[in-house]
Subunit: 322 residues, 2 copies
């Protein structure tokens, strides 16, 4: 069983690659929920939705999020009523939000809601929210504190990032499902998602770092795929966020953020000169192509990650420098 | 100012005819809300929606309800998730339900919600719910007590009707807007809606019959248009409901139900032999064409109703036999 930690589009792509080359039920994806928000009184889980739509083969290939071929009639009608429809919700997508909201209100755990979706979409991987408890990313900018989707979608992540907080994180609990997945994982993969606001919240759930650290210490390979290539994020604001928070915008900086947790990191050919520096952090570096433009790329990167894991396992979990 | 009482499709057609021939802001429609129900945690107002969609020119001409040209992508996606989508909700229509639910949850009165919709849709008539309080029609059948939409839509109004109740009606209050509209009305029209479950709940709001009776007594013409033609309802189960509840399925029976309230009733040519019998109830009868197949029919029937009202007013509110 492989456990992948993922945020939205970039993470979902690698999770999809893993899903395509692993046997059914060999993959568990633990997904960020700190991007979740409420719109029209509906609970939206942008990262979770992206992951199960992607694994179900439903995701819009042009955007990475939303449902392929979806229409936007409800949104157009909301505009007619004077609503500022700054967040794109397709008509098929609305079904997900309606049911999730109804089920949560009737007392279901978020974990159970996602399970129902993956079952209905015939996804043979487990897709777990990082927690059933509400956590909300807040971005501190020169314009003030912004709710994450406000910063990310409404304001097109154009604001300088001065700080990031995860409201509610202290009270968030690791679910039994996540705990069991991590403690029984044969390997753990941090997908190429934003290290600050996608993987960051997952790792910030109290006890999560300790769980992963314990797994690594017990010899379970833990590898990340860097979302930074040539000093830039492949998509989204990860590079500017890293800079704004006083880090380099580099794969090295990503490795440093994950330092105690990783046995290895996968970086792009473009960053190969960072490999030696990364190894000074006590982890291996695999240099390969990390850009995923199509399904074949996703599978190839997933295969590279699995081979890297196999080599790390063969090395018995011994990290560079030990 | 004319006040029309209306339920769904049939009532909306005559309200639309009145709206088209009256000056802007001369029409107030008081609409049944006892058909309202909750689906996917959304508050649905089938009759209200039909009335404002119809007056806005948005209604689906084929069905009379829903939005013309609407698509059903959300519903198809809900089915994919295993939902039994027995109630047709179009994608544009969903916008109405989403906003209504959100606004109600945030503390708005239903009256204000409808006002916002009519404003946005540029309808220059007032469309008022019969009450801001929840009332729910329950239909007693051999299969047990059924929620109205269960009986009407899910089970295609095929069950025999043994009784009808309006749960919550004792506590329902007439709103200030409805009270003011009726007390200042120059005439009142009962649209050709189901007398039991469309006009019935409106009249059952405590104090409503008294308000209308007082208006009629003060000389305000109050006329109904019969929804029964040749012993059959033009649409829906009004004929079978009347029979099930021990009435004739006839315009006479409709007149009898409204007996104390009406100055006159409009019946179809097909029922002209009922006119004399109806006049024994102490009201005038106008015989004309009541079937509305297109906008011209709606306008013609509305004009006939207004002429009838003018004649009744000229008669000084004196009813037959007085």
């Amino acid at each position: 069983m492989i456990v992948a930690l993922a945020g939205g589009v970039g993470g979902a792509k690698l999770a999809h690659g893993l899903y395509r080359i692993l046997k059914p039920n060999e993959l568990t994806v633990v997904v960020n929920t700190a991007d979740d928000f409420t719109l029209y009184d509906l609970r939206i889980c942008p990262d979770g939705d992206t992951v199960y739509y992607t694994l179900a083969g439903l995701a819009n290939p042009a955007t990475g999020w939303g449902v392929a071929g979806d229409t936007f009639e409800t949104l157009a009608a909301l505009r007619r009523y004077g609503e500022d429809t700054w967040f794109q919700l397709g008509d098929r997508d609305f079904a997900t939000h309606l049911l999730r909201t109804q089920w949560l209100r009737s007392g279901w755990r978020l974990t159970s809601v996602w399970q129902a979706f993956t079952n209905a979409l015939q996804v043979r991987a487990r897709i777990l929210p990082m927690s059933d408890d509400r956590v909300a990313t807040v971005v501190r900018t020169p314009a003030g504190e912004l709710a994450f989707q406000d910063y990310f979608v409404r304001r097109h992540h154009a604001d300088e990032v001065l700080g990031v907080q995860f409201a509610g994180i202290e009270e968030a609990q690791i679910t039994d499902e996540v705990r069991k997945a991590i403690t029984s994982a044969e390997s753990i993969v941090f997908c190429p998602s934003n290290p600050i606001v996608s993987i960051g919240p997952i790792l910030a759930v109290p006890g999560m770092r300790e769980l992963i650290h314990a797994a690594r210490t017990a010899g379970v390979p833990v590898v990340a795929v860097s979302p930074i290539v040539g000093g830039r994020a492949l998509r989204g604001p990860a590079d500017r966020m890293l800079s704004g928070l006083g880090h380099e915008a580099s794969s090295f900086a990503v490795a440093e953020l994950y330092r105690d947790l990783l046995s290895g990191i996968v970086i792009d050919h473009e960053d190969q000169e960072e490999a030696a520096r990364i190894e000074t952090l006590g982890m291996h570096a695999l240099v390969t192509r990390t850009i995923m433009e199509n399904d074949a790329d996703r599978e190839q990167l997933a295969a590279d990650v699995l081979n890297f894991i196999a080599k790390l396992r063969f090395a018995g979990g011994v990290v560079v420098g030990e």
